[in-house]
Symmetry: C2
Subunit: 456 residues, 2 copies
């Protein structure tokens, strides 16, 4: 039956939908204008990178970064700003980090290495014959007799033919994470891994690694891609000797904090939309892309909404997670704490893929939740966003899934091409972040959080 | 009527379409692998930027760039490599380029300027009171009495709130192109324009400008954005004096060349798909993004197709156009020459927006031609290309439209966010081009030219 009432209803509904779309569209335009014309993100990132610097969990700089975050968030005048106590691992690189290769002919060449985070020290100069494997799989198939007492070098490169560099990273990162276990299991005295980077350069890329309870812990370091190629070019018949010195050390866990700020929801204050990045970084470079960018993306997203006098329906909460890099204690603690408080977490968004030109968002969720993401496509297309698809959320927000079954987890997706030039390396500094690219990321994050608040 | 024949036809047709799609898809995958694993583009760009350097039309370096291009294309062994003679303008910056601002209180501050290309010289130190206008429109409304004998400064910024930076450039570039005419018409003795760049930095951006036959030619220069802000902050009551010295000079036209290479079409040798960039650059920086990137995008696109033993149906022709920056003589000559030869130009593609991460292609053409472009979307989506829409082709290929009515003109569209940090400035150097971003552009160009050859 098609009645006059139906017609009237359809007209009204149509008008409302159009009005909502226009309102959203106008508001999102104002978000972008604020980010690009009066944005604070670039200066905030400069301050985090230059006034604080690298900030590995447990370090003094990480403690200063907590102060920095609390102060910044307080200055922006959000409804609540508070700390959440956690215990984090404490590992220090130490003062010695040297490596050489010595050929049979007696040529001695220094090479660039960085201890992997969590590695044991070498207790002075450690020397051993270098055995090269093209991949972790090849190492796993090796015989202990060929490895015992030697130093293993896993020269597995990231696959440069993959278009998305995060996929190439994902396919390769076990060499860093598991290399020490596999080499140690076969009797190696140390393991060197090719840096997880796509560029040919001189700076090694550090990162987390693991030991197993049943395997002797051996020192583990990353070598620069250029020096990896240098080692690989040496004739194995030369039986080159590798010499490694690192005095890195682990200490007891230490107290640290997540830093949290929120604008309280006007209709559903107990329903939380969480978004954030991680405040800790590796101890090389300045953690500019990883994850200073995510920190300022999130803080600026909330600042813009506040500046535009937006009154959210749900509570919008920024979390600066501590300890994403080597423990994820911040993410786990946050999820547990929220559950215990009886909060309802309705969505979470993470930015931890750098401060590059935005391309969109991915959704770790049900087909319906992916559809919700896709429903943002048309209104965000004018901002050159085009990725609205199923994909990963992020390490920090992942533990929410264990406490809040069914919560959709979203990842901010910037262009990935340059990320692994900087990731966990001394080149991850403020100067390598582009102002506009950073600001557009802030605007994308702000617009998406706004749309989630409207649509949920 | 639905007959068995229809069913058989549909099945066969469906199978053929699927087969073609699979073949295309496999071939395009091999294009990307070649570009990313065995690409020559980055080294070729290094060579153009470092061995040749900046190469303004008419300069010795431009002549060397012609040699370089002919040699490179010959080394790659294409079916034909040849030069096409043209006459180009010849303007030289000279040895003196200085500017200062002097306040009433006697404070003298040096500022960074670059003569605009084609500007007349100042014949020694030129001094005048500085009058500031916020826009070209404001200048047009001014009275001659307020301007006569003074130096006009047009401080119109590019609109940073526009998402696509080329749109912001397009909306602002008349201050550079027409500023000298408008200021000269009102009796100014020189014109200074705010650099067309979005970043706040110290290096001015040069570019082309025009004079009118009925207006006295006055010296014209761009000032860095930082110094533009400095000038704008001076109280007009200070009646600041601007002091400018430039000894740039124009010379008679000089002989130069377009550099051309092709793989002859196996089915339609007289039907040409033209693609290219421009070999000339401004005389500051190294012309790395503008348009060294376009040169190597095009050359590498053809090299990859040759390496993969692709036999094109139509003739695939790379053109290194000369003189895009200040005359477009290369583009005009090429179009005329092709018409005179009786060739059939069926499509043209230009890369002149930098060597950044690819986003897609635009089409200056009929709705049907835009649909042809859109038909490439699905097969290129895995390569993170998403722009397939109506839009500009390029300056070099535009004259083809005058000789070959109805020809579709396509523009390669990389991410635009960083382009105007480097455009026409000393920062446009090889080091500011990312290897993967460049290589992905080559692959995108190669894949698109392949698809055009298949679809046309």
């Amino acid at each position: 039956m098609f009645s006059m009432q139906n017609l009237v209803f359809l007209c009204l509904f149509g008008a409302t939908a159009t009005f909502a779309q226009t309102t959203d569209s106008t508001f999102i335009r104002s978000i972008y204008t604020e980010a690009l014309s009066r944005g604070k993100a670039y200066e905030d990132l400069r301050s985090l990178c230059k006034d604080i610097g690298p900030r590995l969990s447990g370090s003094s700089a990480a403690a200063m970064a907590v102060d920095w975050g609390q102060q910044k968030l307080s200055q922006y005048g959000f409804d609540k700003v508070y700390l959440q106590e956690i215990k984090v691992p404490h590992w220090e690189r130490g003062t010695k980090e040297n490596a050489w290769i010595r050929t049979k002919a007696g040529k001695i060449i220094p090479v660039s290495v960085l201890a992997l985070g969590g590695s044991v020290d070498t207790k002075g100069l450690l020397r051993g014959e270098l055995v090269i494997f093209p991949s972790l799989d090849a190492l796993k198939k090796a015989k202990s007799a060929d490895i015992k007492g030697k130093i293993v070098f896993i020269n597995q490169p990231m696959d440069e033919t993959m278009i998305n560099t995060f996929k190439a990273y994902g396919a390769c990162y076990t060499i860093r994470g598991e290399g020490a276990i596999e080499a140690g299991r076969l009797g190696a005295i140390a393991v060197i891994v090719r840096s997880l980077g796509l560029a040919s350069d001189d700076h090694p890329h550090t990162g987390s690694m693991h030991y197993a309870d049943d395997v002797t812990k051996i020192p583990a370091a990353a070598i620069s891609t250029k020096d990896a190629d240098l080692l690989a070019a040496i004739d194995p018949k030369e039986k080159p000797e590798f010499i490694l010195e690192m005095n890195c050390q682990s200490f007891p866990d230490i107290t640290s904090y997540n830093v949290i700020a929120e604008i309280t929801g006007s209709q559903f204050p107990n329903e939380i939309i969480t978004f954030g990045g991680h405040l800790d970084s590796w101890d090389t470079g300045e953690g500019a892309h990883d994850d200073g960018a995510g920190i300022v993306h999130s803080m600026e997203a909330l600042r813009i909404l506040k500046t535009l006098r937006y009154k959210p329906k749900h509570t919008l909460r920024v979390v600066f997670f501590m300890n994403e890099e080597n423990g994820n204690r911040g993410g786990i603690t946050y999820a547990n704490w929220s559950k215990e408080l009886g909060e309802k977490q309705i969505a979470a968004v993470e930015s931890d893929r750098g401060g590059f030109a935005p391309r969109g968002f991915s959704c770790d969720g049900t087909p319906e939740q992916v559809k919700l993401l896709e429903s943002c496509r048309d209104i965000l297309t004018p901002y050159e966003l085009h990725v609205f698809e199923k994909g990963y959320g992020g390490v920090d927000i992942y533990p929410l899934r264990n406490q809040f079954a069914g919560i959709p987890l979203f990842g901010f997706v910037p262009d990935s091409q340059r990320y692994f030039d900087f990731h966990h390396a001394e080149s991850d500094v403020f100067e390598n972040v582009n102002k506009r690219e950073l600001e557009l990321g802030c605007a994308a994050m702000s617009a998406f959080v706004y749309l989630l608040d409207q649509k949920l």
